[in-house]
Every structure is written in C-alpha cells, then in structure tokens.
C-alpha cells in the first residue's frame, strides 16, 4: 500500500481549478520535493494530503485512509502526517518544551512525564536542548522552525509534510533547518517537501515533482530533471529560482 495515493484529485477555490486531475502515489521512504512557480498549486497539493484543504473531485488516500472520510478519520490521517509550516505557527503562550509536549498529551493520550521525555529527546535531536524553556518569541526563526519540526515529530507521524519550511528564514539560518531535514531523510522518514531549495532537492530528494498550472508537469529523479530539464517551462523556472 502506498503512503499517499492521489487518484484524479481535483481541487477548486470557487471558479479557479488549483489542482487539475492529479494522479500519483508516494511510497514509504521516499523524499519527494515539490517545486513549481508561485500559484501553481504546490502548497495546495501538500495541504490536501492532511486535509487542511478539502478536495472536490477524485480521491486521496493517506496510508489507506480516504481524506473524504468522517471527521474522526480525518483526524487519524492528520496524526499520521506531521506538518511543518512556512510561518512555524508555534503556540506563543507555551515554551518550546510545552509546544513539543502538547501533541503527545492531547492527541496520543500520553502522560505528561512520557511526553516530557519524548520532547526533551526530540529537542536535543534538533539541537535545542539548551533553549527548551524559552518562549517562541525569544527564539530565532531557525530555532522556531526546528522546534516546529520537533513538535510535528512528537506525535510519531509516518509521513512528514513541509510547506516551504525555509522561505521565511534569513539565508544564514536556512542551513540549520535543512540539516535537520536531511538527518530526518537519512533516518528513512517519508517526506513531502514544497520548497525552492534546489540544492536540497538535488542532494536529499529521491524524487522531484514539478507542478505547473495545477498539473504534474514532470515527475522523476531530481538529478536528471535538474541537470537536463526536459521542458522550456522547467528550464525557465530553474533559472528564476537559482
């Protein structure tokens, strides 16, 4: 069974069709990098997977569960798919540690002691053991994003979704987030990453998807697509982001 399976998925916002009949599947262990011009539907593509957007046509299965199921099933899908946002979206009233503990306690029914142990371990892993009692406002963007990754990992997802995780960061802070993501990929985590980081796509990605106008224009190994773009559209796009 595929981890994620798009079956002729259509997504509309009012009259505009954002995803136009997408069919593809993502297997466990893949690191899929999704790129495309702004407005191409790449963020929507990602947000449909954990049902932050509802689809209007076709079906989308996550670990065998349909996103068109009932509320309880949707919540189950969301627990399987951890999400990291462009704007971090940390809970501002909680410390880094409390942010990471929150998910296990409230979605997995973990005790506070268990959750604290998991959270301390994860924050150590993303290099923030020293700062876990700080509030988000007291952390740099790169640190906040690493806390956000730890928070998503704390609910033990089978799949991680990254929505432009480095786009809101200063250039010198990006590498610390990308490093954490690369470690995660090396551990075998299934990842879907919407990003403009072509170096990450080439070095870490196992598959590159180029979305253009709501359709999958190219889908293949990153090295091939990047070194030898098969279409003028992709060539132009790569020139603009590089």
């Amino acid at each position: 069974m595929s981890m994620v399976e798009f079956r002729d998925v259509t997504k509309r916002f009012g009259d505009s069709t954002v995803l136009d009949g997408i069919t593809l599947s993502i297997e466990a262990g893949e690191v899929v990098v999704v790129v495309g011009p702004s407005g191409s539907g790449k963020s929507t593509f990602l947000r449909c997977i954990n049902v932050l957007e509802t689809i209007q046509g076709g079906d989308l299965l996550v670990d065998g569960l349909s996103v068109r199921g009932r509320a309880a099933q949707v919540r189950e899908i969301r627990r399987e798919a951890g999400m990291v946002f462009q704007q971090f979206n940390l809970f501002p009233q909680m410390t880094a540690l409390q942010n990471v503990m929150f998910g296990p306690v409230h979605t997995r029914g973990a005790s506070r002691d268990e959750a604290r142990k998991v959270a301390q371990e994860l924050l150590g892993k993303v290099g923030l053991a020293e700062r876990m009692n700080h509030y988000p406002a007291e952390l740099s963007g790169g640190q906040q994003q690493r806390v956000a990754i730890a928070r998503a990992l704390a609910i033990r997802p089978k799949l991680m979704l990254f929505d432009e995780p480095t786009s809101a960061l200063d250039p010198e802070l990006r590498h610390e987030v990308l490093k954490v993501m690369r470690d995660l990929a090396e551990e075998g985590m299934t990842m879907v990453v919407v990003t403009h980081e072509m170096e990450f796509a080439a070095k870490v990605g196992s598959r590159l998807i180029f979305i253009d106008g709501g359709k999958v224009a190219h889908d293949g190994p990153p090295a091939e697509l990047l070194s030898n773009p098969p279409s003028q559209r992709l060539k132009d796009f790569l020139q603009h982001v590089a």
């Binding site: 954990n50 932050l52 509802t54 068109r68 009932r70 509320a71 919540r75 189950e76 899908i77 969301r78 627990r79 798919a81 951890g82 999400m83 946002f85 704007q87 979206n89 940390l90 809970f91 501002p92 009233q93 929150f102 998910g103 409230h106 979605t107 406002a137 998503a152 609910i155």
Partner: protein, 290 residues
C-alpha cells in the same frame, strides 16, 4: 457655600449598603455576562464555518430542521396550547414526523455528526439576533421590560434585584460577545491550522490553543466593559433597586445636601472603577499579551 463633612459621615452606613448592592449586581452581572458573551462570541465566530460534506449534500433540509422546530414551538405557545390535549398530541406527532423525515436520510448517511453543522449555524443566528437586540436597545428599556413587562407577558413575579442582575448579564453579554469574537478573529489562522494538523478536534484547539491567546487580547476591552457595566448599574435607579445611586438619591431627598452626597457617591464610584483598573493591570502584567 459650605461643605458639611458631618453629612457624609451620617450618610456613610446607607451609602455603604448601596455600594455593596452595586458591587453585588455588577459582580454577578459580569460573571453571567462573561459566560453568555463567550458562548455567543464563539457561536458568532465559528457557527457558519466548516460545514461537513454530508450535511451539505442534504443541506437545506438538515439546516432548516432547527428553524422548523422553533416555529413549531412558537405556534404551540401562542396557539396550540389553548386547544384540547388530544389535538396538542396530534400536533406534536405531525411536527416530529416531519422533522424525522428531514433528518433521517442525512443521519443514515453521515451519523450524528451531520447535526453539528445545522446546530452550529442555528447558534450563530441566535447569537447574532441576541447581540443585535441587546446592543440596539437602551439598558433602561431592557430593565424596565424585565421588571414591568415580563410579569405581564409571562405571569411571573420579578424582584428588583434579580431583574437588575439579569439585565446587566444579558446587556454586558452582548458587548462581551463582540469582544470575544474580535479577539478570536485576531488570532493568526496558522495557529488553528497547526492544531488541526496535529489531529486535534475543534474544541481542544479552541480551549488550549486559540482561546488562551485570544483571552490575553481580550483583557483591555474587557476592562472597559467591566467599568461601563459598573457605571450602568446606576441606571437601575429606575426600578428602585437600592444600589449606590439610589441610596444617594434617597439620602439627598431627606437632607437636601446635594453637594456632599453626590460628591461622596462620585468618589465611591471612582474608587470602585479604580480598583477594577488596578486589578486588570495586575492581570495584564502576569499574562504577557501575545
């Protein structure tokens, strides 16, 4: 002009009684108003968002059901109630059968969850009407209605003190509902999405994530409302409840010392509102605004 301090001294016990009554009315009125305001504010903010698909498919019938029930109850109160018992029973059998016909197809497909959306929409509309009526009418008219008109309408006896408390509750509740709505809407939607993305149900997102952030933003306008409600309690003089302004009025009527009495009354109000402002400042210091 002479300012006779002994007048204030003699009036103090009565003024103190009035102060206690004012505090009591304001305190209970605001506690009730806060609860009402949170309910109405949440309903107004979220009631028309997130309608599940199964409810949409059976949309009109499911969402019309609660309105049919309201109309049925009104018809009962104003008309059917006067008829014979058998007719009443028949009436309700028909109403319930129609309701079942509207809801059962949706229930069979989507379970009880399909009722959540129409219920939320109904709450939204009820809350909107409540806020519109309470903000749109003067508090004096409201308290007169409850104290004088309600006994006529419903054949119940209403005492002055509960009438004053209930009026302040429903009046402040309407304003607090808008304060709550404003604060909830000001919370960045990314926080809600972060909660959703973890697989949290809506009530947990509201209670643990959006609520605490919104509450901090409510403190300044809530302070405003507390002070306004305290001062508005002086208007209950019109139903003769023995609050501070009424006490002042009565003392003045017996000794004609307007200057001393109204100065004392004003200073007592100033002390009370000052206490509220101080309390809120302390609360704000403890909870950083986020």
């Amino acid at each position: 002009m002479d300012f006779d301090w002994s007048v204030i001294w003699d009036a103090l016990p009565n003024l103190l009684d009035g102060t206690l009554m004012t505090v009591k009315i304001t305190l209970w009125g605001l506690i009730g108003g806060f609860l009402l305001g949170v309910l109405a504010g949440v309903a107004k903010t979220y009631g028309r968002a997130g309608v599940p698909e199964a409810a949409l498919r059976h949309g009109r019938r499911v969402t019309a059901a609660p309105w049919l029930l309201i109309v049925a109850v009104l018809v009962h109160v104003f008309f059917v109630r006067q008829l014979a018992g058998g007719v009443q029973a028949a009436y309700w059998i028909v109403v319930l059968a129609v309701l079942a016909g509207m809801l059962l197809p949706a229930l069979r497909e989507g379970g009880v969850a399909v009722l959540a959306a129409p219920f939320a929409m109904l709450m939204h509309d009820v809350a909107s009407v409540y806020v519109a009526v309470m903000r749109g009418t003067p508090i004096v008219v409201q308290v007169m209605f409850i104290y004088f008109a309600l006994p006529v309408l419903m054949d119940v006896r209403v005492e002055a003190e509960p009438a004053a408390i209930v009026t302040l509750m429903i009046n402040s509740g309407a304003y607090i509902a808008e304060i709550v709505r404003g604060a909830l809407q000001s919370v960045h939607k990314g926080l809600r999405e972060a909660g959703q993305a973890m697989g949290l149900p809506f009530h947990k997102i509201l209670l643990h994530i959006v609520g605490p952030v919104a509450f901090r933003r409510m403190i300044p306008p809530l302070g405003n409302q507390c002070i306004i409600s305290l001062k508005d309690s002086s208007l209950f003089i019109v139903i003769g409840v023995a609050e501070l302004t009424r006490q002042g009025q009565e003392i003045m009527a017996s000794n004609f010392r307007a200057l001393e009495i109204w100065s004392a009354v004003a200073i007592i109000y100033l002390l009370l509102t000052g206490l509220i402002a101080l309390g809120l400042r302390l609360l704000e210091k403890r909870m950083r605004i986020l």
